[in-house]
Amino acid sequence: MSVFTRLRQLSTRAKIRYAILAAAILLFLPPLSIIPQFFGETRFCGTWCLRMFMKVPPTPYILFATFMGVALIGVVLAVTFFLGRYWCGHVCPIGGVSELGSKLVPRKIKIDYSSIPAPAVRYGYFLVFLLAPVLGIGGLCCSLCNFAIVPHVLAAPTDGSCAAFLLTTIGGTSLALFTLLGVWSKGGRGYCNFMCPVGALDSLVNVVGAKLGFRRMQVEKVACDGCGTCQTVCPAWAISKENNAAEISQLSCVSCGKCQDACPRGAIHHGR
């Protein structure tokens, strides 16, 4: 089936989501980097860094350098609290590159990590991520960072320094890890599910918002017959089966709406 036929078959919701992801990639990432260029930058490593605010203690330089990153994180978490993880599922350009890139990899050779309980691994990783700087054993912010490697890959054809970075050991290792956990994984969200600290923070806020009764992806248990179709399409491996009905884990759901489109019985909706 050609790409155009597959695109035509997509629902309006999916088309809008992919269009927003593509727009975010163009706005935030090289070669255009339209928004960062207003601040004299081309990549996420600087004012726009979403991770660096987790470094402890926050020196004046870090606070100043990450001002836009801190503001962006604030907006992301506020949207998540009230509406769900729209940043991760609809806007994040890094997750977008990973998810869209994974569509180029044949399904047969993709790695299915969905059998691993991603939230457990994610929060084990996140705990060390937060504790390491406090304990004085180093920071993981820039370590194998997905926000660093993707812009380098996209800028490599036009920027010699980025191409050179990919040929270094750290560049190659980061690329290999991003490929293995991201593009090559089923759904293309392996890196987001296991290692992204922004995603880990966002998921926690998502759960708190859900507990307080804000709108999230929900399954109508009466209508669900447990066919498992939603489970196959979920890029975040957030759906499991309990008592012959689908169950959505708010710790993993990115509110992409793929399950909603795929459900043959219309049992999934975004609501309270």
Binding site: S115, A120, R122, G124, Y125, V128, C142, I170, T173, M195
Partner: protein, 93 residues
């Protein structure tokens, strides 16, 4: 369909979740080996070790989980076969 897709047993116990949490922490610990390398490389190959560590932990976890799922499926099938043969064998009673 979903049963065929998920080879691993569900739901996972708290102990199992904690085990995977420890695996995540181990992945982060190996990631520490790679910290600060992007800024200054001293040729220690810590990043390579860190990356290989993370990939190893996750792929290892996946392999272990798949094997565990297959073993439990085989065990279930074995139990079902025994039960069926017992029910249909008149001499066994």
């Amino acid at each position: 369909m979903a049963d065929r897709l998920r080879s691993a047993p569900e739901p996972m116990s708290l102990k199992g979740k904690l085990l995977f949490g420890v695996m995540g922490a181990a992945a982060a610990a190996t990631s520490l080996l790679a910290s600060s390398c992007a800024a200054r490389c001293s040729g220690c190959m810590g990043c390579l070790t860190g990356g290989a560590g993370i990939a190893g932990v996750l792929l290892g976890a996946k392999i272990a989980h798949t094997i565990r799922g297959r073993l439990s499926n085989t065990q279930e099938e074995g139990n079902q076969t025994r039960r069926t043969s017992y029910e249909h064998d008149p001499e066994s009673t």
